[in-house]
């Protein structure tokens, strides 16, 4: 029986050495998926046949003495706003319910070339717009640690799949925190690479100047392994950065003594007490490792939030204009005029939160408002970038919580968009500035729910981030095993896992 906690690095190693058959590994994952999925609703599409065939191909290559790739046979869950040529890519939306792209995102192509098995498409807030995975047209995803709580969002499906032990690796996307915040709420490692480090070709656009694909895993080492496969220049993405080196595996074991991190202590005024407690514990752990902590002053993150809201809404209103029912996706029936076709298709196909942001975005770009909102927000963005650059100085990283609160309950913030947006207070500044940022598991609430901590890095500092994350990971409370929500008597069942 393959342990649920098997890391991707370990699995790939065993498969490459012929000690483990990929087919056996994926069969175990498919079985686990079958059991837990009714309770967590993490997946939109699982193609068992395709998964098995891909695994068998890996086994064939190993047997033939061919190099099966660094991720040979490792099942990877892919967030459903990343194009996979043969699987539906729904973006969690009725608009694209049965849409099959016919092409792979560059990141997916790189996974396949590395021998990975594309396991499934995971649930998300529609088009990535959300922080709880409650805004999906295919129902909410539940946190595997507690069925009453959200897994975070918008990459909640990927985070839940990792936490429930279904797969060891997952792709998420991060525009305002959507890789890091669900990683924190589900006890995973989630890395948002520097903007442009991973190609956006095939990532369904939300806010083009903020979007990025990020690796998610249970350990820093696995996340780094996945990052190395994903990162690299892509000619098809004009915002793609030149290749700048990956994360050397040995760097994760290197001591962090002598590094310095900056702390915007004043930002913690927005924090829940439990989060502050874990933050302080983590700070102590960093100091014990020989890291210097230096307090810095930064403008309130609310300014970053406001600028982000205006700019990302503007970009999403533009990027979602193509969903008009004409060429692909949902087309309303019975519309006899063009404007009726547009209005009905979009009204039926798009959810509330999506519509809300499209309206706001259109407004801030429109004549008479653009100067006061869009142009001003651009300026604020540049100013914030300069402030963070100055505060960071020559420190290796900025250290802060990932989210102001632990995972909240399902339904708790659905009716209050501003409360929902406030959950991204600590993650947004990284997207605003393009810097790499990582969330890693750092502790627990008194209820046993995961709490994550965050580091923002320098431009080429992804390796340093992972090095720090790995060091802290070794130092803080040992990770508890991921819950198996389907076990009888498990904590999950007590919290009403049987409800739909």
């Amino acid at each position: 029986m393959i342990p649920r906690e098997l890391s991707a690095a370990e699995a790939a190693g065993r498969i490459r050495r012929g000690e483990l058959r990929a087919r056996e590994l994926v069969d175990g994952c498919l079985e686990r998926c079958r059991r837990v999925e009714p309770l967590i609703n993490a997946f939109i599409t699982v193609d068992a046949g395709g998964v098995r065939a891909a695994a068998e191909e890996v086994d064939r290559r190993v047997a033939a003495g061919e190099d099966p790739g660094p991720l040979a046979g490792v099942p990877v869950a892919v967030k459903d706003n990343i194009c996979t040529r043969d699987l539906p890519t729904t973006c969690g939306s009725r608009m694209l319910e049965s849409f099959r792209p016919g092409y792979d995102a560059t990141a997916v192509g790189r996974l396949r070339a590395a021998g990975a098995v594309i396991f499934a498409k995971t649930n998300l807030d529609e088009f990535g717009l959300g922080s709880s995975t409650e805004h999906s047209a295919f129902g909410p995803t539940r946190n595997p640690w507690s069925s009453e709580h959200v897994p975070g969002g918008s990459s909640g499906g990927s985070a839940a799949a990792l936490a429930a032990g279904v797969v060891p690796l997952a792709l998420g996307t991060d525009t305002g925190g959507s890789v890091r915040q669900p990683a924190a709420h589900c006890g995973n490692v989630g890395l948002k690479p520097h903007y442009g480090a991973v190609s956006r070709y095939g990532l369904v656009a939300f806010a083009s100047s903020f979007d990025g694909i990020g690796p998610m895993a249970r350990t820093a080492a696995d996340a780094a392994l996945l990052y190395n496969v994903l990162a690299g220049h892509d000619r098809r993405d004009s915002t793609s950065l030149p290749q700048n080196g990956g994360i050397p595996p040995e760097s994760l074991a290197a001591p962090v003594q002598g590094l310095s991190v900056a702390v915007p202590r004043a930002w913690l005024e927005h924090c829940d007490a439990e989060v502050v407690r874990v933050f302080d514990d983590t700070a102590r752990a960093l100091r014990d490792l020989g890291v210097t902590l230096r307090e810095v002053r930064l403008p309130s993150p609310r300014h970053a939030l406001a600028a982000y809201a205006v700019l990302s809404d503007a970009e999403v209103s533009s990027n979602l204009a193509r969903y008009d029912g004409v060429r692909y996706g949902r087309r309303a029936r019975g519309a006899d005029r063009l404007d009726a076709l547009y209005v009905r298709s979009r009204s039926e196909g798009l959810g509330q939160e999506v519509k809300r942001r499209i309206l706001l975005g259109t407004c801030v770009l429109s004549a008479g408002y653009q100067d006061a909102y869009y142009i001003r927000a651009q300026r604020a963005r540049r100013l914030f970038q300069a402030e963070i650059d100055a505060a960071l100085g020559d420190a290796a990283a900025l250290f802060l919580p990932t989210a102001p609160t632990p995972p909240f309950r399902l339904g708790e913030r659905r009716g209050d968009p501003l409360a929902m947006y406030a959950g991204d207070l600590y993650t947004i500044p990284a997207n605003l500035t393009g810097r790499p940022a990582v969330s890693f598991p750092a502790g627990w609430t008194s209820d046993g729910l995961p709490v994550g901590m965050q580091l923002y890095g320098r431009r080429d500092g992804a390796a340093t981030l992972m090095q720090l994350a790995a060091a802290v990971g070794r130092a803080v409370e040992a990770p508890r095993p991921a819950p198996d929500p389907s076990h009888d008597g498990g904590a999950f069942d007590r919290r009403g896992a049987g409800e739909t």
């Binding site: 092409y103 004009s238 204009a321 193509r322 008009d324 004409v326 060429r327």
Partner: protein, 492 residues
Amino acid sequence: MMSRVAHADHEAVIGLELHVQLQTASKLFCGCSTRFGAAPNTQVCPVCLGYPGALPVVNEKAVEMALRLAAAAGARSAAASVFARKSYFYPDLPKGYQISQYDRPLATGGAVRFTGDGGERDVPLIRIHLEEDAGKSLHGGGTGEETRIDLNRCGVPLAEVVTEPVLRSPAEARACVAAVRRLVQYLDVSDGNMEEGSLRCDANVSLRRRGEARLGVPVEIKNLNSLRNLERGLEAAIGRRLSDLARGETAAHRTLLYDEATGEVRVMRAKESAPDYRYFPEPDLPPLVLDRDALDAARAALPELPWERRARLRRDFALAPDAAAELTRTREEAEFFEACLVSLRAELPRHDLAHLARTVAAWTVGELRRVRKERGAGGGEAPVAPGALARLLQRIVEGALTIPSAKTVLEEMARSGRAADEIIAAEGLGRIGDPDQLRELVRAAFTDHPQQLAELRAGKEPLINFFVGRVMRAAGGRADPQLVRRIVQEEI
């Protein structure tokens, strides 16, 4: 029809917005072919179809061509220009926005020289920028109620050229567009075909009282898909404006559509206000940074521009302005002319150059065009090579061939590819210059037409033409008409 422009109190002020389809092999932001005439929706890909996750990548060749156009116009190329999204909903615009340029275009300023009212002048440009074309909507298909969308054209590169509003009449506007067309053809950036849509023109016109500096409220006219329609559309729009003013109506912003069938314009937009395109910088494309080397290369690679060539032909060969203008309508014809003249000069170095030039010019724009048209060749190769035509013209200049005969020879040259001398010898088309031979034909004609001869002798002068004609016919067009006339007069 008297031009409706002619009005004592007001003058028209016209500006043009031209869209030039750049003749790159692939589209502006993806690798799809731009070839005209393919089956609908076969030259498309996720990028130009606006599929989820697709991203644009700039076609360097399109930038090069646009820079060439900017260099030819003497425009200032921006060190860094910015692409922008222009948003509106229409089925032939897959992304719901067009990638264009807004407040930081590729180039500003510059001018195009053309021959307007009162000679050559320059029309200053406001700007030149790059943008992608939209697809095509074909209305009335199927049941008659359908609109079909063909996205082959979607993403084809366009250079938008905007002139200052300084043109003074519809005729001038027409001449200006003709000059731009000539220029883009000369530069090999576009075939400038208005009927096929590779050169499109919108115009704006306003009226103001003579002597005033301030411009009136402009009206925009669309669907001017030929030079003729441009001129007529402007005339109709001006006439309409004049009527409005005569009725005391204040001028309003309008967009008019020209109707080719009626020659009238009608209001296109119901609303007064222009749509809000919500321009913002394209986040998927970094600023287009100008490569100094690329700009220098573009300037260095400029061919001789139409106005430069006109001036040189007039200066070097003493050609009249009209002839020079006509010859330089296309680069191909101008080059043919020069090659032919050089070849002719080589054989007749002591002959008056201006006379040779006039001869070559006349045949290039006259008979050669006629033969080309008859043979059905569109653009493309001339029916005979420049050197071959030079040999034919040489025989005319030397007096060995009459013009009527030469026309016949040219047709045969085009048909068979044979050389002029070969045909002249084979068909016996050499000029009959022997007066005795001609005298015999004249006498024969006199014998055949005694009535006319009597009348001629009685004093009816015009009948000389009759006999000249008879003799020419009998000689198969190979006799020199002047000589025949002289002999007829001698023989009367």
